[in-house]
Symmetry: C2
């Protein structure tokens, strides 16, 4: 039995944070029911798309879920969607959305149908105004602290990190509220603003404290790890790798691997530094990097990696996405995280399950995303007890639809 077996969660969501939240729960065995508008959701064609226009993004973020197509522009469709969200039964009445919770998604209106509803609502800002990952990220400081020293243009991240942290936070919130409901009998609404998720992380990392307590501001450090030693080096075969010496053990391993004990001791003596201290390593980062660079420049990526591994140093190769697929055994079916799965209309591709490996529960096999509407009749029959005649009537009136042709 999967670890979240028995949970049935309804989702009205688009883009990343909402779909990723339920996706994380689906990969642990929760039953996830997407309500998809008949005309297609706002992110149904989000890039990257295949030559035939199918969204690889949508397929990835919605894999392993069910999809019900409902015309939510009409009252009868909205009524049906509300009935699904508030369907009776244990393990139901759980709802995640990153749409504005107004109109037919109003929490109080939904609670009138099921008083113990758990509703997780992801917002842009706490006041309900819009914000996306990219418009939050620019505001919380990182783009102006990223990239080469001396440059002053902001550098946007490509990974929408706040969306993913926010989505995983929403998954945590749902389980916390389901536990509370089980113990105390009460449901609730949980609101999570994307900008609050980012601000909490900035505070946790000490970046606000650095300004408030130290009167300092984090400067750009290029590819150096702040407050320790770590940076990228070029190898003789035109590749590049990252080494990290955050702990004393990692530092000693790096020194051992590269055989630079002598020059590094001389550097430390000349400057009065103790390089076993992370702060001293950080202060001398450019000199250390200059001492180590020739060692890397004289070796291929593969040879340098073998020597670093032998010394138990911490490092990683830089890889483009293509190289990640071609070269890294972690990114292949050899890793139990992955399986090659056929996605209807798209093709067979490496598909991830949950990164959580549970010793007492079998893993949920990686699955394809749904064809929108593929589960319409089955879900309405199961959750709401609709019979053949009722379903036929809803189809006739265009309130619901099966899979698009």
């Amino acid at each position: 039995m999967a670890i979240l077996s028995g949970l049935s969660i309804v989702e009205c969501a688009a883009f990343i944070a909402g779909p990723f939240a339920t996706g994380a729960l689906a990969r642990l065995g929760a039953d996830i029911i997407r309500i998809d508008p008949i005309e297609g959701g706002i992110d149904q064609h989000r890039w990257p798309v295949t030559a035939a226009g199918r969204s690889l993004y949508w397929a990835g973020l919605n894999k392993g879920k069910k999809s019900v197509r409902i015309d939510i522009r009409r009252p009868e469709g909205r009524e049906l969607a509300q009935a699904l969200i508030t369907a009776p039964g244990e393990g139901r009445g759980l709802f995640i959305t990153n749409f504005p919770a107004v109109g037919w998604l109003d929490y109080d209106a939904l609670c009138r149908r099921r008083a113990d509803l758990v509703m997780v609502n992801i917002l842009g800002n706490r006041d309900g105004s819009t914000a996306l990952d990219y418009t939050v990220n620019c505001a919380v400081g990182f783009p102006l602290a990223t990239g080469p020293l001396g440059d002053d243009r902001p550098v946007n991240h490509v990974l929408p990190a706040w969306d993913f942290i926010c989505g995983q936070t929403a998954a945590t919130a749902l389980l916390a509220a389901e536990r509370f409901r089980r113990l105390h009998g009460r449901g609730q609404r949980l609101r999570i603003a994307l900008s609050d998720v980012a601000l909490a992380v900035v505070a946790d990392m000490g970046l606000l404290a650095e300004v408030e307590i130290n009167g300092a501001e984090r400067e750009r450090h290029g590819n150096h790890i702040y407050g320790a030693f770590g940076c990228d080096f070029a190898t003789s075969d035109g590749r590049r790798l990252m080494v990290a010496a955050v702990s004393t053990g990692q530092w000693q391993a790096l020194v051992r691997a590269t055989g630079q004990e002598g020059p590094l001791s001389a550097l430390a003596s000349a400057r009065g530094l103790d390089l076993s201290r992370e702060g001293d390593r950080h202060g001398a980062r450019d000199a250390i990097a200059a001492l180590l660079a020739p060692w890397f420049a004289a070796r291929t990526l593969s040879d340098a990696g073998r020597a670093l591994d032998a010394a138990r140093a911490c490092w990683g190769p830089y890889q483009r996405f293509e190289q990640l697929l071609a070269e890294d055994p972690r990114c292949s079916p050899a890793n139990p995280l992955f399986a090659r799965v056929d996605h209807p209309g798209i093709g067979t591709m490496l598909t991830a399950g949950s990164p959580i490996d549970c010793s007492a529960c079998p893993p949920v096999p990686p699955a394809a995303g749904p064809v929108p509407g593929q589960d319409t009749d089955a879900v309405l029959a199961d959750l709401l007890g609709l019979g053949t005649a009722q379903l036929a009537g809803l189809h006739d009136r265009g309130i619901i639809a099966g899979p698009a042709a």
Copy 2:
């Protein structure tokens, strides 16, 4: 009553993913007990630090937790730590660590003390080898896809995003396993590799599919949002802002705000594009940006922002951390996320609570991090029933310690 009231979780952890996992649960009202080595943990001096050497990083990531100092180098100390991890009682026997689960942290050994233990173990790689955020990030493709088009040096992220996603995943895992134990009576070990967390996200975003299905590789797009329209603009007062037009509504709002309907229509006609389609906007991103740039360049950040808000466009200012604190009301006590909290030995600073706002449960007030060892006697008395004489003996033998002077 807080939403996670009644949960008591023991933590042996350092750096980010482990402490952030328990921190997220602490902010929802779980009782978190850190076991800190008497001589100080590996991250106790991680930068940024105050002038007096106190780590603002450690304080931020461990706020609202309890700390017990134990000499875990000696068998008697390890025995005591194991007893805490496996203490009897409902809501106990919950353990999170990002240390190697060997020796006294071996899962089977711990299970012999409490058969239904839930243990979340964060790893670098699934095979147990070391990996840090920075050595994972280089491998999963983003640094070579980040930064200005035409540049080919990797750009490391400054936000250790994988650590935070992984930490939040660990919080989700703990609640999933606690639910399973409550329903089925069985504990388990949950292993989460940092590299698997990253690989799953890369797959979910369609970045592997882009290579496998489309035979393409994501190229650098500078500060442009991939697959839609969004980029940064300079304003007349030397500031910069980010606009995002991912949805049709956001695009129309941006066009309305900047009054560029005419030139943009002409551009669309000339190139045979439909700019209401996200892919067409992405293809014409440089031309669109060039048409819009003069509007921004003629206005201050504040004036441009007002016009964008009036049209309900989606945007955000670029802010350094100092500007975030000085200018953004979301990053102030006006936001219920925050409170100004006195951190002993550090000072008063803006401190974040949980970004999850629960309608049925009061928020847990933001709290300072512990002084290591401040809860040693109280926790050992509470969880293990040790009396005054036993505690005194442990202190005398140097097995435990109270707060460092």
